[in-house]
């Protein structure tokens, strides 16, 4: 099935350099392709465009036939009003705290474990690592029920530690960083060892700087996973003091007498941080995904 190496049959050999207008036709095709792709892109972006546009309309203008992209005036006040409706500022802070703390813990513990698995020798290393890997197969749903009981027995329902800790120790970060650490030549750390550096110093001063791209990718994806997480907060919180943004949106949707323009304002706010993150770090991310096929999906 791989490349076809049969001798070229004479009837087919008029391919290279299309004789008719070597440039003209190509360029036309390319322009058409570009225009079509732009249309597809616009169609794809429509839900997001509509969301932002609706977040600036008056309540009466959200539903209109024929649909109008923008209302008579742009009501930026919807954003402050949405924040009065439900404490979205609070939800943002909650989510930020959970996502940042979760990401930090994940990075530190994954880096340490990854260092041990990649660079240290100890009994049962392969077996323990396999055990870690094995749990990557287990879907979140399997552990959610006992996790709820554990949290309940610890008296951690409606707490930040319950939102953060359970998902800060997945084997995934360890696996990802270990794969990257293995590609770093040992000569570098041997030089550091001769200079008297201990393992901790080697990890933080030699390996971590080289592995910065891997750390960045892991950090961004961990942050995004925490930020977007829904099932677990839905289970473990029922109080606005710990409500996260996705949960707040869902609460908003469930309220009677729907104010769609406010809901859209809230949705826009909920998406802003991760979209900004991706726009700023796009190069890193695309490369990270390309290398690892990484992703929460």
């Amino acid at each position: 099935m791989t490349s076809d190496t049969r001798a070229p049959s004479p009837t087919l050999v008029r391919r290279p350099a299309a004789p008719v207008g070597p440039h003209g036709r190509h360029r036309l095709r390319r322009t058409v392709s570009q225009v079509l792709l732009t249309l597809v892109g616009l169609g794809f972006a429509m839900p997001l465009v509509w969301m932002v546009a609706s977040s600036l309309k008056s309540g009466g203008e959200v539903f209109s036939t024929p649909p109008k992209l923008l209302g008579d005036q742009l009501l930026f006040s919807n954003y402050t009003q949405a924040a009065d409706y439900l404490p979205f500022g609070r939800f943002m802070l909650n989510t930020l705290l959970v996502a940042v703390a979760g990401t930090l813990i994940t990075l530190v513990t994954s880096a340490m474990s990854a260092y041990a698995f990649a660079r240290l020798r100890f009994r049962f290393r392969e077996a323990v690592f396999l055990l870690y890997l094995g749990t990557l197969m287990v879907p979140q749903e399997v552990v959610v029920v006992p996790m709820f009981l554990i949290m309940k027995n610890l008296g951690w329902v409606n707490t930040f530690q319950a939102l953060i800790l359970p998902w800060a120790f997945t084997a995934f970060g360890t696996f990802l960083l270990r794969q990257f650490f293995l590609t770093i030549p040992t000569e570098l750390e041997e030089a550091a060892k001769i200079d008297g550096a201990g393992h901790w110093r080697i990890l933080t001063r030699v390996i971590a700087p080289i592995a910065a791209p891997a750390f960045a990718v892991l950090a961004v994806f961990t942050f995004i996973t925490y930020w977007n997480s829904f099932l677990w907060p839905l289970i473990i919180t029922n109080d606005t003091s710990t409500t996260t943004v996705p949960l707040g949106l869902n609460l908003f949707l469930g309220q009677n007498g729907q104010e769609w323009q406010l809901l859209m304002a809230a949705a826009t706010i909920s998406m802003a941080p991760t979209v900004l993150l991706v726009l700023v770090l796009q190069k890193y991310l695309v490369r990270g995904i390309a290398l690892s096929g990484l992703g929460g999906r």
Binding site: L12, P67, R121, T225
Partner: protein
Amino acid sequence: MAVAAAPVVPPGTKRRGTKEEVRRGDGKVALGFLTPGALGFLAFTLFPVIASLVMSFFDWPVLGTPTFTGFGNYVELFTTDDTFRTAIVNTLLFVVLYVPVNIVVSMGLAVWISPRIKGRRYYRVLFFIPAVTPMVGNAVVFTLLLTPNGLVDSAMKSWFGVGAPNFLGSSAWAMPAVVLLSVWQGFGYNLLVFSAALDAVPQHLVEAAEIDGAGAFRRFFNVVLPLLSPSIFFATVLTLISSFQVFTQSYVLTGGGPGNSTTTLVMYLYQSGFQFFRLGFASAIAWVLFVFIMIITAVQFIGQKRWVHYDQ
């Protein structure tokens, strides 16, 4: 959650260290480095996994004492529980609709964008954006689009004089709506994976095929596609695994309804555990889901020998 890349890089491919080091070992240091992660891992992964399996054999209320019922929960699920049967059918329906559409769309766009399109980086980022925004946010936006008098409905009314069906309120349209949202949200990941793989295809092979007289179609299907097969395999495995876990989309968009038409396995798990407080029963559903995922993944790994090309 992150279900990851186990298949891509074989573990333990590198052995290093001087003989002296091997003899000494780093046991104590290793213990120090592993302890924080391992404690969390034991408490929040390994223990809950085992506990979940144990709980699935119990009648386990939130309050009150658990009673051992053996396979009771499983027997109930597979013999008398109609909702469970519906949830399985719905989940499979979702998987069957979602996975092929996702793969075809992401591959098609990756191929389209890859060669000489101007600004392809920006298209890639655009298509990727919904994948990183909260699913709840995306679902809320789609609710506005698909609801009666929403964008789709009113656009159809003013263009064709006929309104759209009530997507979210009709048992025939609710699942397609969930799939639509999911594809829109999700294909950007695979697009990036395929784009990267396409960039890595050696141009000389494609050119050689062109000189040999292969048309665009043959070049793609006989040269490029086999070279992409490892990433197609990888993307399909991950997409399938995640699609069995579909929950948020239908929870927010349709609440599992109308009727039970979009109730999925995970939604039924959630309802059983956290609305009806049958924790053991919910655990049993979780394990059925797990077994489904393992079987489908195993089948793919066995089947890959027939179509995945790992050699150059």
